[in-house]
Amino acid sequence: MTVLLDVHDMTRQFGGLVAVNHVSLHVNEGEIFGLIGPNGAGKTTLFNLMTGLTPPTSGKLSHRGQVITGLAPHAIARRGIARTFQNVRLFGNQTALQNVLIAQHIHGKSGMLASVLGTKRARSEAREAHERAMDLLKLTGLTYHQDSEARNLAYGDQRRLELARALALRPNLLLLDEPAAGLNPAEKRSLSDFIRRIRQEFALTILLIEHHVPLVMGLCDRVAVLNFGELIALGNPADVQHDPAVIEAYLGA
C-alpha cells in the first residue's frame, strides 16, 4: 500500500488555543479514512491544514512523497486534493452547471485572449468542459437542476453539488467534511453507497469527517479519533469503537 498523504507532527495554535496538537497520521492510496471526535477536537482544522487554508504552526505535510507544507490552497487543489466544507460553500448566485464549470477551469489550456475571441481550439475545449460537467451533474442526480442557482437548491442537493464540484477537479484525494449532516436516514444510506461508488469510478482516496457513528463505522477502512487536538485512537472501526479512551471522550456509554 502506498501512502498518499502523510501528516507528520502537525500543530496549529490559535492564540492560546492549541487546535491541533502534534498529530501524525497517513492516508493510504485507495482507502476510505474516517476522522471523528467531539466538537472542537480539531477535525476541521486538520482538514484546513491539509488543504492549505490554514498554515500550520509546525509540522510537515507530504502528498505522494512531496512536501506540500505551506503551499497555497489553490496549489494544493491543483495537485488533486479536493474538499467539501462543513457549511456548504457553493458559489451561490451561479447555477449548478456553472459551479461545476468553475472547478474545471484549472484544466483549461487556452489563454484568456483566445477564449475571449473564441478561437476554434478554445471553443472545442469549452464544449468538452461542458460535457464533462453535465456528466458530473448526472452522476450526482442534479441534471434537472443544472440551471438553478445554487443558493436556491434544497440542502441535500447543495451537498451533492459541492461533491460534483469537488470531483470536477479530477482529484486523487477527496476530503469530505460532515457529508451526512442534515440528511435523513434513507439519504444517509444512499450517501454511503455513493461514496463507495465514486471511490471505485474515480480511483479516489477518501478522507471524511463525520459524526454519524454508524455511517463511519460501516464505510471506513480506518478511523482516527481526535480529542482536544490530540490523536487518541487510530485503527480499524471495530477496535476504535471499543477503545475506552474513545468511549470516554466521545461516544459515551
Binding site: F14, T44, N48, L53, T54, F85, Q86
Partner: protein
C-alpha cells in the same frame, strides 16, 4: 529642527488631529453599529453649524430663498450650540428613517446604503445652497468673549501659541470620546448596541428593539456631528454648504486608520493624521495632503484591520 518648533508643531498636530477626530466620532458611531459608511454625516455636520448660526440670530445673505432671513430672537451661544446639535441629531434620525431603514429592513448590501447616503448628502448640501446661498458665514468672535485668541505654551522669549478654540475642541472631543466609550462599553444599552452590530436578528430575539436603538444611535451621531460642526465653524467659519464635505474624505481616512468602528481608534487615528501633517517638513509642504493617505495605504497593507480594529478570523 529646534525644540521649540518641534513642540509647536506637536501641539499644532494635536489640535488639527482633534478636529479630525471630533468629525470622525459620529461617523464611527454609525459604522460600529451598522457597519455602513454614512456619507451624509458630513452634511449633518454642516447643518449643525448652520443651525447654530441661525439660532444665535445670525443673518443669512441675499442668495437663496431665505435671503436676509433672520430669527426674531437670538439665543446665547451655548444654548444655541446645544439646540443646533439637537436639531442636527433630529435630521440625522430623519435621514435614517427615510434613506437607510428601508434598505436595512430588506437586508440590502451595505454598499447600497453608502450610495443612498451619498444621495442624501447631495440633497442636504444643495438644499442648504438653495435656501441660504453659498456664501461664507462666520460666528462673531464675541462668542468666545473674554478668552484670548491663543494660549502661549512657551515663554515670553519663545512663544508657542495654540489657538484657544482648538483647545476647546480638544477638550470637547475628549469628553465626547470618554462619554461614548463609557456608553458603549459600560452600559446595558451599549451592550445591546454591540449585540445589534453583531447580529441584529439575535438582538431582536433577546428582546432588544433594534429599530429604536438604531434611531437613538443616529440621533447621537447627528448630535455629536452637529456639535462638532459648530465648533469647527467657530474655529474657521462656515465656508459654504460644502464646509463639512471637505472633512468627509479625511474623516474616512481617520476612521479606517484607527480601525473601523473603534471609538478610541478614531481619536487615535485623528491625532496621528494631525501629527503626521504637522511634521511634514516645511520644504515638502506641497505633499502634506498626500501624507495621511500614504500612511493610510501603508497601515492598511501592514495591518488591514486598522490600528485598533479587531481582526476577525474567518471561520471555515
Amino acid at each position: 529642527m529646534d525644540i521649540g518648533l518641534t513642540f509647536q508643531q506637536l501641539l499644532n498636530g494635536l489640535s488639527i488631529g482633534c478636529v479630525y477626530a471630533i468629525f470622525a466620532l459620529g461617523y464611527t458611531l454609525i459604522f460600529s453599529i451598522l457597519r455602513i459608511i454614512n456619507f451624509a454625516h458630513a452634511s449633518v455636520f454642516t447643518l449643525g453649524a448652520y443651525f447654530t448660526y441661525f439660532l444665535i440670530g445670525g443673518k443669512f445673505g441675499f442668495n437663496g430663498l431665505l435671503s436676509n432671513g433672520q430669527l426674531p430672537f437670538a439665543l446665547p451661544f451655548l444654548i444655541a450650540l446645544v439646540v443646533g446639535a439637537v436639531l442636527a441629531g433630529l435630521v440625522s434620525m430623519a435621514i435614517e428613517q427615510l434613506a437607510f431603514k428601508p434598505l436595512r429592513n430588506r437586508g440590502a448590501d451595505p454598499l447600497l446604503t453608502l450610495v443612498s447616503s451619498l444621495g442624501v448628502a447631495i440633497v442636504v448640501v444643495n438644499v442648504i445652497q438653495y435656501l441660504v446661498g453659498a456664501e461664507i458665514y462666520a460666528f462673531p468672535s464675541s462668542v468666545l468673549s473674554g478668552l484670548p485668541a491663543a494660549v502661549n505654551f512657551g515663554n515670553a522669549d519663545r512663544a508657542i501659541p495654540i489657538r484657544t478654540i482648538q483647545i476647546v475642541i480638544l477638550a470637547v472631543s475628549v469628553v465626547i470620546m470618554i462619554g461614548l466609550t463609557l456608553l458603549v462599553e459600560r452600559t446595558r444599552t451599549g451592550k445591546a448596541l454591540k449585540a445589534i452590530a453583531e447580529d441584529a436578528t439575535v438582538a431582536g430575539l433577546l428582546g432588544i428593539n433594534a429599530d429604536r436603538l438604531i434611531m437613538a444611535t443616529f440621533f447621537l451621531s447627528g448630535f455629536v456631528g452637529g456639535l462638532a460642526g459648530t465648533l469647527v465653524g467657530l474655529s474657521v467659519s462656515i465656508a459654504g454648504p460644502y464646509f463639512g464635505i471637505a472633512f468627509g474624505l479625511k474623516g474616512l481616512a481617520v476612521i479606517v486608520l484607527g480601525g473601523l468602528g473603534s471609538i478610541p481608534g478614531s481619536i487615535l487615528g485623528g491625532l496621528l493624521i494631525g501629527l503626521a501633517e504637522a511634521f511634514v517638513p516645511s520644504s515638502a509642504i506641497a505633499i502634506k495632503e498626500a501624507v495621511p493617505f500614504a500612511i493610510l495605504f501603508l497601515v492598511l497593507i501592514v495591518r488591514p484591520q486598522g490600528l485598533m480594529g479587531r481582526s476577525l478570523v474567518q471561520k471555515v
